[in-house]
């Protein structure tokens, strides 16, 4: 094995150590990841667009900048020279952003998403844009107009979704970390399916500016990496108030908690009975319960709890998210950007561009959302869903007076076979049943590896926390990863 191949084994922390002490240049590291992508991308298809030339330019300029700052005795940006992959629903100036859709096949955003800009300021190198279900609508990455991503643990299986390309890229060591987005579980479920760690922060914690909108009251930017420490590093850099997103909230971000001496003694972990019911794969339940036992052993207090409105999260989500999507996606009309399929007259330009540009799941959700918002049905569907959403959030608000965090599975099963859900939208929607509640309540969620099933597929567990208390989730997962090795296992390609 050459020295270069080994560079791709680095996680974020190891990569930054090697770059900082000068053992490796950003060019060497970037070339190593690009080489690995070239060697295995045809099997996995984690990317919609790779940006090798830009990446090498960025790497060279990072190397120059490091030398210059070092000589001048100035502070070096914390991620200078680190290669990262970015989900294709986040805008990178001048790099095609398709959202997995034919309607944006040629779209090159003229600005950076705020989260991307913050990471560019910290010095990252962009490897490319990762595959996603079209407009992040899906749980398997099968809804991408650019082909399905394969799970690096089993090429016949999905990587989860919608951030399936990002999760697969991290699991396959194409990139030490990746940005994703989570509207109903789209960071956590693929993290679980691919055996990596992923965070969905509190709604309002990270700017959505430049995150191409799907469900605006639910969308959050998220981070995937191979350790929770790496997730924390990138999460903390992207968080904060943004004058370009009025829904960001100016809340202090705690100091890094993933560090030596982190203490979880006395933290109260609630285990909700509604997340362990019939239909869940027995090995998933066993692994999550074993992880809960581990937390008890490490000093946490375990409390049985109930979140009585859990069963309504799925129907509430599949009214609210499509309703918001139908409004958000109205912007794709063939006028200012994206596909224009007809110049015949205005109406034909709208209907034919959208008919030709959107795929089946996006059309299905636009139709559903349009119906739910239409005159005569608004109160019965959308209005009622908004009220039940209040009940779901109240479940969380009330239980967080008794426990600090909630522990649950991420998904009912491990990664399923490509094509396994056929053309059955409801079966696919059920994949999100344990992740949707956090989005509806706006609370943070963290997924991390907690075992494997008999087919050697990763099993993830989820922690959900109080609004703006990502720190407790990160701390618990960090102590867990200090005492377990599930997160260190990687697939053989």
């Amino acid at each position: 094995m050459s020295e270069k191949t080994k560079l791709t084994d680095f996680n974020v922390k190891e990569a930054m150590d090697a770059l900082t002490n000068g053992r490796v240049s950003s060019r060497e590291m970037t070339e190593a990841f690009l080489d690995r992508i070239s060697a295995h991308e045809s099997d996995i298809h984690a990317f919609i667009t790779t940006t090798p030339e830009m990446a090498l330019e960025m790497a060279d300029s990072a190397d120059d900048k490091r030398a210059r700052l070092k000589n001048a005795g100035e502070t070096v940006p914390s991620l200078l020279g680190l290669p990262i992959a970015i989900k294709d629903v986040l805008c990178v100036d001048g790099v095609r952003a398709t959202c997995g859709s034919k309607i944006l096949e040629q779209f090159k955003p003229p600005f950076n998403a705020t989260a991307v800009q913050k990471l560019l300021d910290a010095g990252i190198v962009v490897l490319g844009k990762t595959n996603t279900d079209e407009f992040a609508m899906g749980s398997s990455t099968e809804n991408s107009a650019y082909g399905v991503t394969h799970n690096p643990w089993d090429m016949d299986r999905v990587p989860g979704g919608s951030s399936g390309g990002s999760a697969a890229a991290v699991a396959a060591k194409f990139s030490p970390a990746a940005l994703g987005t989570d509207t109903g579980g789209s960071v956590r479920q693929p993290a679980s399916f691919c055996g990596v760690t992923g965070i969905k922060p509190t709604y309002g914690r990270i700017s959505r500016y430049g995150l191409i909108a799907y469900g605006s009251s639910l969308d959050t930017m998220g981070v995937l990496a191979r350790t929770v420490e790496d997730v924390e590093t990138i999460f903390r850099l992207t968080a904060g108030f943004d004058e370009r997103d009025s829904t960001t909230i100016d809340m202090p971000i705690s100091d890094a908690v993933c560090r030596e001496g982190a203490d979880i003694k006395g933290l109260r972990i609630g285990v909700p009975k509604e997340y362990f019911i019939e239909g869940i794969q027995p090995e998933v339940e066993q692994s999550v319960r074993a992880a809960v036992d581990k937390f008890r052993e490490l000093g946490a207090e375990i409390i049985d709890i109930s979140l009585p409105h859990t069963e309504y999260a799925l129907p509430v989500y599949y009214l609210i998210a499509p309703a918001e999507a139908s409004a958000n996606l109205a912007r794709f009309d063939g006028v200012r950007y994206g596909l224009r399929a007809s110049d015949e007259n205005m109406m034909q330009m709208f209907t034919e561009s959208r008919g030709a540009g959107f795929g089946p799941e996006v059309k299905r959700r636009i139709m559903l959302g349009t119906y739910a918002l239409s005159a005569g049905y608004y109160d019965a569907y959308y209005g009622q869903a908004q009220k039940v959403r209040t009940l779901i959030r109240a479940d969380f608000d009330s239980i967080f007076t008794t426990v600090d965090v909630i522990a649950a599975p991420v998904a009912p099963t491990t990664a399923f076979k490509i094509g396994g859900h056929g053309d059955d939208p409801l079966a696919m929607y059920l994949e999100d049943v344990f992740t949707l509640p956090a989005n509806l309540a706006g609370v943070p969620g963290l997924a991390f590896p907690a075992g494997f099933d008999s087919s050697e597929l990763p099993i993830g567990m989820q922690l959900m926390g109080k609004h703006f208390d990502e720190a407790t989730l990160l701390k618990l997962a960090y102590v867990f990863q200090q005492h377990t090795s599930w997160h260190l296992k990687t697939p053989v390609l």
Binding site: Q106, T247, M349, T351, I366, M367, P425, A427
Partner: protein, 118 residues
């Protein structure tokens, strides 16, 4: 097949009070009307498929109607009632050139569209 069908049965109790739902299946004409509202050009095959699938989804989500929410406020956002606003001062924005980069058609530095008035 889906390994979570058991779960579907679990959350769709057999004693589900179907009578409180006024009507769950969509007619073909309704599908055409929704497609028009959504400005989506759909094929006949797509309309037929969505008629069935949307009816199934509506039947599923109708379980929400059994909850009494008379005195419950709706949640449309998690934000505090007072959003923080930035100072209203002019700033450099996108240049016209950059804003027009992705235009499907343009003329004289403007987006060009088919005639609005016949």
């Amino acid at each position: 097949m889906c390994r979570c069908k058991g779960y579907l049965n679990e959350i769709l109790p057999s004693a589900f009070p179907l009578d409180i739902i006024t009507r769950m299946s969509l007619t073909f004409e309704e599908v055409e009307y929704i497609a028009l509202l959504a400005r989506l050009d759909l094929s006949l095959e797509e309309k037929q498929r969505y008629q069935q699938q949307l009816s199934d989804i509506l039947e599923y989500v109708a379980q929400l109607q059994k909850l009494d929410t008379k005195n419950i406020m709706s949640t449309s956002s998690h934000l505090p009632s007072q959003a923080r606003l930035r100072a209203d001062v002019p700033k450099e924005g996108l240049s016209p050139e950059r804003a027009l980069e992705n235009a499907p058609d343009l003329e004289a530095d403007q987006f060009k569209v088919p005639p609005v008035l016949e």
